[in-house]
Symmetry: C2
Subunit: 430 residues, 2 copies
């Protein structure tokens, strides 16, 4: 075999990766050129779903990333450390790296890609976004001929599962989350998923590829789904929308040279292809000129899909290593950009909004709302008094496109009105 792999981690993704490589029948013949040479694990005695020679296994991960016999290190441990350090050490020792670790890439992509370019090695990460969906490779290798203006999608399966069930069952967030945790669809600590942090990591990575500039994760606006209520899902439904947690990266209109990168729940028209993405599936939409709009849909997580993505990177590596002279980096597999893209502040976002107000049921309230909006040049598409609850009126408003800063100032004025009891929800509209 031509290329020796050091695998860091033998959890679900690691075991899935090993299973593909050890069973190459009916797969791309080039996979036979890849050998799992060493596997770094925490325990040598744990029972494994994949059979590997015991001599492959080691608990000494540092020995793998420095082993001169190893060509490619596959990092599927997850977590920030020691993953980051091991990746950097592997690069320092001239090894190519394949990783599924969006958290490390989103935070330390800067130092990792700088090191990789200096060392003349590749760092590939198809598995970091969208599980088994091939989206990183198309962004790097074919869609980039377009002037991409938007990449957006549903990139977190847990929150999409929760929102889908809330939609289908009319249930509230806390209730569905508890059940999702019981069933293993959500972690015991669901923060990374439900607060949008995982999606933020992923959109930072997609934005960097689509717009060929690094993204500072701290500048990515991030809002989770904890505040999405069964009531809003039901009102949205009546207005022709579903609510999805969207990750969005968008080039602003000239003369701005900034990029919006943001994660938040949003109302999505039922006719939009993202509206039909159900359960733990992920989907990524890419819009560009002259392409128009394409969408990639598939399983966003799980052992098999994620392993498929990891091995697809290995396949690409095997192909270039077999045919290219050393020290020449293939320009569509490497990451040559090293500047940071300017990120627009969320106050500059121009979007439609949905908001729900609870007000006194008295004449003149709607006029006051309208005046506050008008004062800040917020133009309304619709304003509907939905009904009464506990002698308070519920009013749902959908705006035309408006600058977020203006909308927020209008909300402040409205919040100060005596006749407005509360503003239980404010959501953007795709």
């Amino acid at each position: 075999m031509a290329f020796k792999i050091g695998l860091l981690g033998l959890g679900t993704v690691g075991a899935g990766t090993a299973q593909i490589l050890r069973d190459p029948e009916q797969r791309h013949p080039l996979l036979r050129e890849l050998e799992i040479y060493r596997v770094g694990v925490r325990s040598l005695t744990k029972a494994r779903s994949v059979s590997l020679p015991q001599s492959c296994l080691t608990t000494d991960l540092a020995a793998i990333v420095t082993d001169p016999a190893i060509d490619i290190v596959v990092e599927v441990m997850g977590g920030l450390e020691p993953a980051r350090t091991l990746i950097l050490q592997a690069i320092g020792h001239g090894k190519h790296v394949v990783t599924a670790n969006k958290a490390v890439i989103a935070r330390y992509g800067d130092e990792i890609f700088t090191a990789a370019n200096q060392a003349g090695v590749y760092v590939l990460l198809e598995a970091a976004v969208g599980g088994g969906i091939p989206v990183i490779q198309p962004l790097k290798q074919s869609l980039g001929v377009n002037r991409i203006h938007t990449v957006l999608g549903i990139v977190n399966g847990t929150t999409n599962y929760i929102l889908t069930r809330m939609q289908n069952e009319g249930a509230d967030f806390a209730e569905v989350l508890a059940d999702a945790q019981r069933l293993g669809y959500a972690e015991a600590d669901p923060t990374a998923d439900v607060d949008g942090l995982d999606a933020a990591d992923k959109i930072a990575i997609l934005a960097a590829l689509a717009f060929r500039g690094r993204i500072k994760l701290s500048e990515v606006y991030c809002e989770g789904i904890r505040q999405v209520s069964a009531a809003d899902i039901s009102y949205a439904e009546k207005l022709g929308f579903v609510i999805k947690l969207l990750a969005v990266a968008k080039r602003q209109e000239p003369p701005s040279e900034a990029i919006e990168v943001r994660v938040h729940p949003a109302l999505v028209a039922k006719t939009h292809p993202l509206a039909m993405v159900q359960g733990v599936n992920n989907a990524i939409v890419v819009e560009g000129e002259p392409l128009g709009q394409v969408m990639f849909l598939g399983p966003g997580a799980g052992s098999g899909p994620t392993a498929s993505a990891v091995v697809s990177d290995l396949l690409n590596l095997a192909a270039v290593l077999q045919t290219q002279p050393a020290q020449v980096l293939h320009p569509l597999l490497s990451c040559p950009h090293n500047h940071y893209s300017p990120i627009a502040p969320i106050a500059d976002l121009v979007t439609r909004f949905y908001a729900r107000f609870v007000t006194q049921d008295c004449p003149g309230v709607i006029g006051k709302l309208g005046t506050c909006f008008g004062d800040h040049r917020v133009s309304l598409e619709s304003l509907v008094q939905i009904g009464l609850r506990d002698e308070l009126a519920e009013i749902v408003v959908v705006t035309h496109d408006v600058r977020e800063g203006n909308f927020r100032r209008a909300l402040e004025d409205i919040r100060a009105l005596e006749s407005v009891a509360s503003i239980p929800s404010v959501l953007r509209v795709l």
Copy 2:
């Protein structure tokens, strides 16, 4: 500039290709290495939507494919000849070829790829299937790590446009076709589209890539949409289905080593992702192990999308030509297989069927139908008497999975029954 392109054809796709290359701002920087050097056209005086130096244009296409200065020939003329001959000449003169010509590739892929492999050049064809949707590259470069068992999709925009309108308007085929022709969505001679021939070309290409074996186009089963009626669309709707023209390539269950490659209208459950593909859009679903199911959705035709696909091939070529030694072919861009995949006869297909029968409205008819099906081991999922028309009863049947040969024999027996007036429609169910 590094690489010189000879463009054969300056119609919608050719002009779109030139437009992308002549306006590289905000696109992949490698595009600046590609120069449109010669353009072969029919008329030197025709007004063009893209501005090219007059000195580029020539009517002498043979001079382009033999010009020693040209590195890559882009064939976007369409039609079988002279496209096929020019492609072979270009290959013979050591030029790489990018083509959008599914008809030529599906018919002459054998001689073209054999010649290309002998000459050590690439023939790339992303634009031949699915317009702007990147599907050829993912199939060649990443999805192939999976054991692919099915590739299926909606690959003809004209028929999907017609079926979508029939569905939305309750209109019949002939009526919608005439309107589509008036609006430019269907050709004056609609045969290639509505009889499924265009889709057959495309699924033959996808099947060859997915299963790494050549496909004899004459063995692809092909049935168009002329016989789909408003009545069937309406009945299907009631049963929870929409009707789509599907192109399917599927590996049969072992011990069979054959592949099914077929085009026909089919009932698709409304919950299937293909059911929501509307209008002229295309979508391709790939299913494999361990990936599961992914879907690619987007514009299946048009100048911009198709040009995006053509230029993505040029980008990949520029990348490998810049970094690889001559005479070494990148194994994920070349087409090394040269055997033919065995194709299963349609009689061996195992699928569900939908059929509509017009019968006498008398007792015992249903019993006779049931007996005919039972005699040929066709098991029924549902049998519904829909209603009466002109004193005849209409009965709609959906079967469980059944071998097509058995089902057809049962239909022959049913057709011979005195109480059966006609069998207006027989459709497969996905």
